[in-house]
Subunit: 352 residues, 2 copies
């Protein structure tokens, strides 16, 4: 993200990167353990950390109301909040890899591939309990408990994952259910990122809180749709993992939903049967073997030719655009607002 | 537990069971979800609930200082605390079954056996986030955050599980490391149960807090040792799962540690090689097939003949006795104290 920011955002972007370094330091310090085996796992999990999109949103949304959010040493509560959301996000990634039988993430082996599902389950739990412990430092008697809000958010994330599991292998998934899954499993935590600066305020404005949460939810949804498109259309080397992982684990994503909306009944039936064969074979033979199969390439070709990938991308852009419209009319102008508008647009249009 | 309580504890036991019903009601209400798929899983997980040993300890330790802890509608904060610890315990059971590839618990199929590891991982996360959310209701500005303490406890539990994972297949495990694992993975949460009534007090006594925590830790350790003995010596039908699960998942428990302490070098070597073969075969062929193997029966016979099962049982009793000695000299007499003394003794001497 830093290398390609719009030119007028240069100084803000630089300040954000400095502030993020403070968050990263706090994150590592928090995870240190006196048990060597735990420390090794925690160190490895830290490598999952990417651009820290979620901490960036906490700080940038903080900067909308308080420029000191982007000081080299940002306001301590914001920095803690940013570390908390990243740790919860990391925990969900570690557990997601168990759910998806994933062996690669960011071009490196996953925890479950290295140490087995058992260690991945426990490391995820360890990260969650650390995040909650850190979060209690944000609680103040004069306002609603931040811990309570964050526990509610992680609850929603779990519900989204469980709903997604229920629809595994459901090749007739509706757009409505897809969006419900994505809003819960991805949108809720990003919503919390954007609302957190208000949750930490001494005089929070409930309407603004809800608006910021909905703004973040939309960024999360746009990001997830873009992610789902990338799983079918990216350069696998740059993506850091093989294409088609969602199908291999029985997840129907928006590009396919859009494809079925415009396909003839017979084409839809044929494709659904093919997707079912792919997922069944992946369960039996493992994902990599199946995704190298020509039948999978043919399905991808059909998807591309139909224009459904573009339709899905446009859906992501629409969601992001609606988020930006709300922000432009509801938030005070300044570098903070410019930054989050840029981030919202970027979420919907990632390229690998 | 209710059927065999010492006669003089009858009325206290009856009051405790009534108070537990309030906790169970709160527990179920908290877990209700608007998503049918989540509700189904939560309902199934509730079937894991056994005698609610941990909530019993919260209420009984509460009754040591405040008789209203055992009223038909117990003090609300104690009832919430009791539901919180039971929910955290349930989450660890659900995740444990993933760690152990377990298909049976309390004579019924586990979540992972019914719905796969994925649902079990997510359901565990869902239970944890619910527990944390409920726990925030106990936080008060005038005392240390109960949420913070509980997050620290779950952290310790995870560390214990990770330490145990690190020592999988370590057939030369020392008694010291065994006890360190057990203190963290089982002792910490039981310690919290006993300390919680003090954590909720307006004028907590730090020495008493620590004493109660250590008392609970010891009950947890005694309970875990007894559990590990049962895994090698119980009637499988009454236990609700096959014997030898710990070995099948590479866990060396105290009876074996005691066995190796008194065995000749050559006998120890032979037995370690056998245990290694059992665990390796269980990983390849699945636990049930292996545990039906005559080699496993022979190993169990050798263990029984050596007296190591009794030695381990005595260790559990020693730990429980030390817990009781502290309680008798440090806590005010009354039905609350009588109850927890009974529970501590019972933890070390379970029979199936």
């Amino acid at each position: 993200m830093p290398t390609t920011a719009a030119p007028h955002l240069g100084p803000t972007q630089k300040a954000l990167q400095q502030a993020l370094a403070d968050v990263a330091k706090r994150f590592s310090a928090e995870l240190s353990s006196d048990l060597p085996c735990v420390q090794t796992l925690a160190d490895h999990a830290e490598k999952y950390r990417g651009k820290m999109l979620r901490p960036q949103l906490v700080l940038a949304c903080g900067a909308v109301f308080d420029p000191s959010a982007l000081a080299p040493e940002p306001r301590q509560d914001l920095s803690i909040a940013a570390a908390v959301v990243e740790m919860i996000h990391l925990a969900t990634l570690v557990h997601d890899d168990v759910l998806d039988d994933a062996d690669l993430r960011r071009n490196g082996p996953t925890i479950r591939a290295l140490q087995g599902n058992e260690a991945a389950v426990m490391l995820g739990d360890y990260l969650i309990s650390h995040a909650y412990r850190m979060c209690t430092r944000l609680d103040r008697p004069e306002r609603e408990s931040v811990s309570r809000r964050m526990a509610g958010v992680t609850n929603t994330v779990c519900e989204g994952e469980l709903l997604q599991l229920e629809h595994r292998g459901d090749w007739a998934l509706s757009e409505r259910t897809y969006l419900e899954i994505v809003r819960r499993k991805t949108g809720a935590l990003v919503g919390a990122c954007c609302a957190l600066p208000q949750w930490l305020a001494n005089d929070p404005d409930p309407v603004l809180e809800q608006g910021l949460f909905a703004f973040g939810e939309k960024i999360g949804i746009a990001f997830q749709i873009a992610d789902d498109v990338l799983d079918l259309a990216a350069d696998p080397d740059r993506l850091g993992k093989p294409l088609g992982q969602d199908l291999a684990t029985g997840k129907l994503t928006l590009p396919w939903v859009c494809f079925f909306e415009q396909a003839s009944a017979s084409e839809a039936d044929q494709t659904r049967a093919l997707l079912d064969r792919i997922a069944t074979a992946a369960e039996r033979e493992g994902a990599p073997a199946v995704l190298a199969d020509p039948a999978f390439s043919r399905a991808l070709d059909r998807l591309r030719e139909s224009g459904a990938l573009l339709t899905a991308e446009n859906r992501a852009r629409d969601v992001a655009r609606r988020a930006c419209e709300w922000a432009e009319t509801s938030l005070p102008p300044g570098p903070g607002l410019d930054m989050i508008l840029e981030m919202a647009s970027r979420a919907a249009a990632r390229r690998y």
